[in-house]
């Protein structure tokens, strides 16, 4: 399965370079591909316009979609393992709603147009810090809430995932309310900007955003993947994992920090993209089984493929306008998901 996904990745990425309001033929993309990756200008000056479309817009955009999709799906797989619940998704620890609020705050206060630093807008920083702050609050509150006697076998240390789930829901609701309040006081232009951002979009992709993503999301993904054996053991239950020699509280902290980093970065760079983190790992579990070594790897690859495809559709369906990519992921994936669930009766929620 990872081999299959790996093999279809290059054609999908290639498609991302070809498709758009200005169609570029595959042969032209192919002939320019080496220069695209290595230099800033084409060999043949006649091709300048298509080259710069690919170099400045489509290449960073496609790669960013690939990275964000992979990061979200992999984070989803990790959260489903950590919470031992196939319905968990990366937003469960409050990171998405926190990032959303952070983005709204920065749009309302700073305004949408100010490019602050390195070509990254204030919105990116607002979303990133909002996401991390929300996770920090959820984690602290969940750690300080007393554990119930029944789940508190490992009491005295650590954070109960059940508490995290509940606090996460509360913080998500709170951030959602604050977000609505901001939308209420915002003027029409700001309001539209906030709500578009909440639907996800990769139109802001550039080299700076891509580099930021590569330096945060990729290492986080690698660190999460390395915990695959401990995640398997954790599925048995926390005390079982402890007896197997897993440092459960360390594992929880590590996963939450890495998922928070990956998701906060994804949301900051590409807006709120639902569905990928929840459904991709769930689908792949039907195919490769629950063991995380394969599941995490395949989720990352499939998430990347799905988001690149969704983005290709988003910018070609109503061309020259663009659909929000979050709308496309949901419309693409939901029926497929329902179909698979119907075929694998009994493999979903037990």
């Amino acid at each position: 399965m990872p081999i299959v996904l790996l093999l279809i990745t290059p054609p999908i990425l290639f498609l991302g370079l070809c498709v758009g309001p200005v169609a570029i033929t595959p042969t032209e993309v192919l002939s320019q591909l080496p220069y695209l990756l290595l230099s800033k200008s084409p060999v043949n000056p006649d091709l300048m316009s298509s080259f710069s479309i690919m170099r400045e817009l489509r290449l960073p955009r496609t790669l960013l979609a690939w990275l964000v999709g992979g990061g979200l799906a992999l984070s989803g797989a990790a959260m489903q393992g950590l919470f031992r619940n196939p319905l968990a998704d990366p937003s469960i620890i409050g990171v998405t709603s926190g990032a959303s609020l952070g983005a709204s705050v920065s749009v309302v206060i700073i305004g949408p147009q100010i490019d602050a630093w390195l070509g990254l807008s204030g919105l990116v920083f607002g979303a990133f810090s909002g996401g991390l702050l929300a996770v920090l609050i959820v984690y602290r509150l969940a750690s300080e809430t007393p554990l119930s006697v029944k789940t508190g076998l490992l009491s005295g240390q650590g954070t109960s995932v059940a508490n995290m789930l509940l606090v996460g829901i509360a913080i998500t609701a709170l951030a959602g309310a604050a977000n609505s309040a901001l939308a209420f006081i915002a003027d029409n232009e700001t309001l539209r900007r906030i709500s578009l951002w909440n639907m996800g979009g990769l139109d802001g992709a550039n080299d700076q955003r891509l580099i930021l993503g590569v330096f945060i999301i990729l290492p986080a993904m690698y660190i999460i993947w390395r915990s695959h054996r401990s995640l398997d053991a954790l599925l048995l239950g926390e005390s079982e994992a402890h007896y197997l020699g897993v440092n459960v509280s360390h594992l929880k902290r590590l996963l939450i920090v890495m998922v928070a980093l990956a998701v906060a970065t994804s949301v900051a760079l590409a807006g709120v993209i639902g569905f990928v983190g929840l459904v991709v790992p769930h689908l792949l579990r039907l195919v490769v089984g629950p063991s995380h070594r394969q599941l995490i790897l395949c989720s990352a690859l499939a998430g990347g493929i799905l988001l690149v495809l969704a983005d290709v559709l988003a910018r070609s369906l109503v061309s020259p306008a663009e659909l929000p990519v979050g709308v496309v992921t949901a419309v693409l994936g939901a029926p497929f998901f329902i179909l698979l669930l119907r075929q694998h009766r009994g493999y979903g929620l037990q």
Partner: protein, 271 residues
């Protein structure tokens, strides 16, 4: 490897004045108890007597008072990996609701070992046969019956203590089993106890929570009877399973006769 450092009958797990309080209530009250290498200790007592709580104290993050020594060292002094190779525990209930196959669940027990997948597969195959699960090896765990799930989990905790493909274990290893026969039929109950005795023969120390006094009398080397968090009596099955101690612990009248074949105590209930 520090093999066979522990001789048969050495106390490899020792509870010394162990107490566990929660919400002002004593779940375990000042218990002294030893589990010896190569022996099986049956932990008996009515519901809420503190049997599970006592075993949970061995888990080193439980905030009990007193001392628990595993191979003469405090459990907290072991590295997680080293501890996991010599101490395994089967909890009463399993929380596993992900669709692993039976084989994969048993393989999870190999977590602390770095023996390579070839050895792990050999050990898993052997355990599948021992627990009569070979026919179910590729079945989805969540689709199994309660008893089949229980046998799978027992195979998993056994695989955690096995060192190599020869199925050897480190002498002085400790296995804690919390009601391992609660879902098993009569035939699997006895075959499990016989299998556990074989592992005892290799130097494994077992503490097993049981409700079936006759099963305990027939197979355990030693029994401990708990009530209200306190140890009522510990000793050989003959010393522990008496009409008097059962009246004290459970508040019921029973008659004890000698088993016609083994001469072990046999509890007859007066209905």
């Amino acid at each position: 490897m520090d093999c066979s450092k522990y001789m048969m009958s050495d106390n490899v797990l020792r509870f010394e004045s162990v107490s566990l309080h929660r919400d002002g209530q004593a779940l375990v009250n000042n218990i002294d108890l030893n589990v010896s290498a190569g022996k099986m200790l049956a932990v008996l007592g009515p519901n809420g007597a503190g049997k599970t709580s006592l075993l949970n104290c061995v888990n080193n993050v439980c905030d009990f008072s007193g001392t628990i020594l595993l191979q003469d060292r405090s459990v907290a002094d072991f590295s997680a990996q080293h501890r996991a190779k010599i101490l395994a525990m089967l909890p009463q209930q399993s929380a596993l609701n992900f669709p692993f196959s039976v084989k994969e669940v048993i393989m999870l027990g190999r977590y602390p070992h770095n023996t390579g997948s070839k050895v792990d597969v050999a050990i898993t195959d052997e355990l599948l046969a021992m627990m009569q699960l070979t026919a179910l090896a590729n079945r989805c765990y969540t689709s199994l019956s309660g008893g089949e799930q229980q046998r799978t989990q027992i195979a998993r905790v056994l695989s955690q203590l096995i060192l190599d493909a020869d199925m050897s274990i480190r002498s002085g290893s400790v296995l804690l089993l919390d009601e391992p026969v609660s879902s098993l039929d009569l035939s699997h109950q006895s075959s499990l106890m016989v299998l556990l005795k074989e592992f005892c023969g290799a130097g494994l120390a077992i503490a097993v929570v049981l409700h079936d006094l006759n099963l305990a009398a027939a197979h355990a080397d030693k029994c401990a009877l708990l009530k209200g968090g306190q140890l009522l009596v510990a000793g050989t099955p003959e010393q522990v399973i008496t009409a008097e101690s059962i009246r004290q612990a459970y508040g019921i009248e029973v008659e004890i006769i000698a088993h016609p074949k083994t001469a072990k105590p046999l509890v007859i209930r007066e209905f």
